[in-house]
């Protein structure tokens, strides 16, 4: 059938009539919602959706407002990256096995891509997966893995053929994070806390059924994951903007004001407003079915604005800016700029231009894919991975 706003609303109303959240266990309610196709309406029937247009999800969410949710902040990697990748590349068996507990939050996912030696140049990664019968044996080290310590499954990119150029010798797996040989260590950051982990993989055996996509096709599968990552970062809901936080400090502390700071703050307010308008225009383009290239730039602008604003805030606070709220080693499940003080915002914002694609790589992408400027001469495209200089 063809879904529209009315029919989705009707479906949601019928579901609610049959499932009273007040009378049900939270998880049972979520499973039922998934089975009713109201999890992500644009997914196929039987996999939590209705095969409806993506924008009708807002209708389902509106109708089900106030009912138990799946705590999206805690399972962002599953929702934002694992689900679309599994949907696009998974076998039917994989889709049936993974999508439901992913959406309900029963199973947390993490992403095992980056390595100490492979950051911006992800395709050069060295974690090996060697076939032994129907199993793959994985050895290597991954880093910057958020949620690894709570995750049931990991999206793993590993090298299965070192004898071909780097992009061609990769294969994509679902890694069982409970398998023997998986060791997760927290990675402490400059803020004092550890959002991320290092993951050591030593002789980890994965059954062949956990391969996602074809052997050697891992780079293409990973591209889908990464594209969804950047969409997810750009579209993250914010309670308040960094600009509002700093403006409030300015308003409440008249004794701290100087002309120097005032002029700089006005500039940043304009930048913040321009970024808001650029993002609004981008959303309009997306809604009209004409995704514009502005998306690649939003993360870049967002990182710079965050860094400048948080730097100004610390300076503006003077004596208070010399303090810090808490260096205690902690393992937060989500990042919240607003629940912490200025010093934390300043330090955490430094990561905005590194995580999920450095600002340098994003500028390359804009220059090459948007402006059509020629790529740099490359020495690593046609050389077998094992022969690359290191």
């Amino acid at each position: 059938m063809t879904w529209d706003e009315a029919s989705v609303a009707e479906r949601a109303a019928a579901f609610l009539a049959a499932h009273d959240p007040a009378a049900m266990n939270r998880l049972e309610f979520l499973r039922a919602r998934f089975d009713a196709g109201l999890a992500w309406v644009h997914f196929p029937e039987g996999l939590g959706g209705l095969g409806a247009p993506r924008e009708l999800q807002a209708v389902a969410d509106r109708e089900l407002r106030g009912t138990p949710d799946n705590q999206p902040g805690r399972i962002g990697i599953g929702l934002g990256m694992a689900a679309p990748t599994i949907l696009a590349f998974g076998t039917d068996e994989q889709k049936r096995r993974f999508l439901r507990p992913l959406w309900t939050g029963e199973e947390v996912w993490c992403q095992l891509f980056s390595e100490p030696g492979a950051g911006s140049d992800l395709a050069t990664l060295a974690t090996r997966a060697v076939r032994e019968g129907d199993e793959w044996v994985v050895d290597g080290q991954k880093v910057w893995t958020s949620s690894a310590h709570t995750a049931r499954w990991g999206l793993l990119l590993a090298r299965t053929d070192p004898g071909v150029p780097k992009h061609r010798g990769l294969t994509y797996f679902v890694c069982d994070m409970r398998a023997p040989g998986v060791e997760v260590r927290p990675l402490r950051q400059i803020t004092g806390e550890a959002e991320f982990n290092e993951v050591f993989l030593t002789g980890v055996r994965l059954p062949g059924a956990l391969r996602l996509g074809e052997t050697g096709d891992g780079w293409r599968v990973a591209q889908a994951t990464l594209m969804n990552e950047r969409v997810a970062i750009g579209g993250m809901p914010v309670r308040r903007t960094m600009m509002e936080v700093v403006a409030d400090t300015w308003r409440s502390r008249p004794e701290l004001r100087t002309h120097d700071l005032h002029q700089r703050l006005l500039r940043l307010w304009v930048e913040s407003e321009v970024m808001r308008l650029t993002a609004a225009r981008l959303r309009e383009q997306l809604a009209a079915g004409h995704p514009g290239p502005e998306g690649s730039g939003m993360k870049l602008a967002f990182a710079r604005l965050h860094q400048e604003l948080s730097g100004l805030e610390v300076e503006l606070l003077r004596e208070d800016g010399l303090g810090y709220d808490d260096w205690t080693f902690r393992r937060p499940e989500t990042v919240d700029f607003l629940g912490r003080e200025a010093g934390y915002r300043y330090l955490r914002a430094k990561g905005n231009s590194i995580e999920g694609g450095t600002s340098e790589i994003l500028r390359n992408i804009i220059a090459e894919r948007v402006l059509g400027l020629p790529a740099e001469p490359r020495a690593d495209k046609d050389v077998a991975w094992k022969d690359l200089p290191r």
Binding site: A247, W250, R251, P254, R257, T258, H259, H262, Q263, L265, L266, R267, W269, V270, E271, E273, V274, M275, L277, T278, A280, R281, E284, Q285, A288, E294, G297, L300, A301, E360, L362, R363, N364, I366, A367, E368, V370, L371, G372, L373, P374, A375, E376, P377
Partner: protein
């Protein structure tokens, strides 16, 4: 409200762009800049009458197109992209907005002439004036109903048939219309003296009146000149679209050049530092597009000025000020990068880059500097200055 371009707007753009491609190439513009007639009257006639851009902001009942600031903005993008030497901003935006604010029969009749392309007008106010501190009238209305005084830094006066002059009264101010003498005629009571201008494609002039016969279009009781303020504010909002057009030309031309130009056996555009600078510029321009579209849309939503301080008026001021604070600097940055990344060739008179640099720099000063517009945001953004 949408920040995208509508189909109608895209059609208008295509019509203007096609005409300019035919009649307003960079070399044609360059050939004209040092001549005695910096404005291209023939091109303007075609734009005004055939494409009908002169009456975009004029209501249908007065003979105009009844379009909005959104359409005028699209025209300005294209005129900026071509640094076209036509008085669209001077006549169809600034003078037209002053007349729309003045209202009344005489202004209405004049708007009809402008919309039909029968006459071109100029607002005798310095182009450098800020909407947040509109200048007091530099001319006075005599008891005999004639205007006397001198105004410098006016755009579009050389080609104007009618000069709109804000004047002092014994009490209050007025907006007057003075018909220009036929070109070449001697002994007129008004005089337009072209000044050597930084912007070769939109020069400024000094306009003098010596007991020039005038019609009074509107009066105001206080020291303010509401027609001027409104024209400057709305003109500033639309100027952002011209600045967007300038910046887009500069980026596109630079990208095309560095893709082709080779040094060290590589295209210059394959060097990472060049790529990163152009990526940053592209991002600034994406922001300029959103901000300029937003200003145009806000102006279109509130075609008539409300009382200052009401919500719509504040929304208009914020949109205009944000657009100008951003776009004014972006156009200059784009033009400066265009000159620099063209290397020596960008420093030559024969390459058109300098026409854009000069226009962008003049536009940065026009209708309030970026600093003026930022300052104007302190109130609406609730970011009070130090005491």
């Amino acid at each position: 409200m949408t920040l995208l371009y509508t189909e109608v707007e895209e059609e208008l753009r295509a019509a203007v762009r096609d005409l300019l491609a035919d009649r307003c190439s960079p070399s044609a513009v360059l050939g004209r800049v040092e001549s005695g007639t910096p404005y291209d009257a023939e091109l303007w006639k075609t734009l005004a009458r055939e494409i009908g851009v002169a009456g975009l902001l004029v209501p249908e009942e007065l003979g105009g197109a009844g379009a909005s600031a959104r359409e005028a903005a699209v025209v300005l993008e294209e005129l900026g992209r071509a640094v076209a030497p036509v008085p669209f901003l001077a006549s169809a935006v600034l003078a037209t907005q002053a007349l729309l604010t003045a209202g009344g029969e005489a202004a209405g009749e004049l708007l009809g002439r402008l919309a039909a392309g029968e006459a071109t007008a100029a607002l005798a106010v310095p182009f450098a004036a800020s909407p947040y501190a509109p200048p007091a009238p530099a001319a006075a209305l005599g008891e005999d109903g004639t205007v006397t005084g001198t105004v410098g830094g006016v755009i579009g006066a050389e080609i104007a048939d009618v000069l709109l002059v804000p004047v002092r009264l014994t009490r209050g101010t007025a907006l007057c219309a003075v018909e220009a003498s036929p070109a070449g005629s001697a002994g007129g009571t008004e005089r337009v003296a072209p000044a050597t201008s930084l912007d070769l494609t939109r020069p400024i002039a000094t306009v003098s009146f010596a007991s020039a016969p005038a019609r009074v279009l509107a009066t105001a009781g206080g020291p303010e000149t509401p027609w001027v303020r409104e024209a400057l504010l709305r003109g500033a909002g639309l100027l952002a679209s011209e600045q967007l057009g300038i910046a887009e030309w500069c980026l596109a031309t630079t990208v095309a050049y560095v893709r082709e130009r080779r040094q060290f056996a590589r295209p210059v555009g394959s060097f990472q530092a060049v790529k990163h600078r152009l990526a940053d510029l592209w991002l600034e321009i994406a922001g300029a597009r959103a901000a300029a579209r937003n200003a145009a849309a806000r102006l279109a939503e509130a075609p008539v000025a409300g009382p200052p301080g009401d919500d719509a008026a504040v929304a208009v001021t914020v949109a205009v000020a944000v657009a100008q604070a951003h776009c004014g600097a972006v156009a200059v940055h784009a033009a400066e990068e265009c000159v620099q990344l063209h290397g020596g060739i960008g420093m030559t008179w024969e390459h058109p880059a300098h026409l854009y640099l000069k226009r962008a720099k003049a536009d940065q000063i026009a209708l309030g500097t970026p600093g003026d517009h930022r300052e104007a945001l302190a109130g609406p953004a609730d970011l009070p200055a130090p005491v």
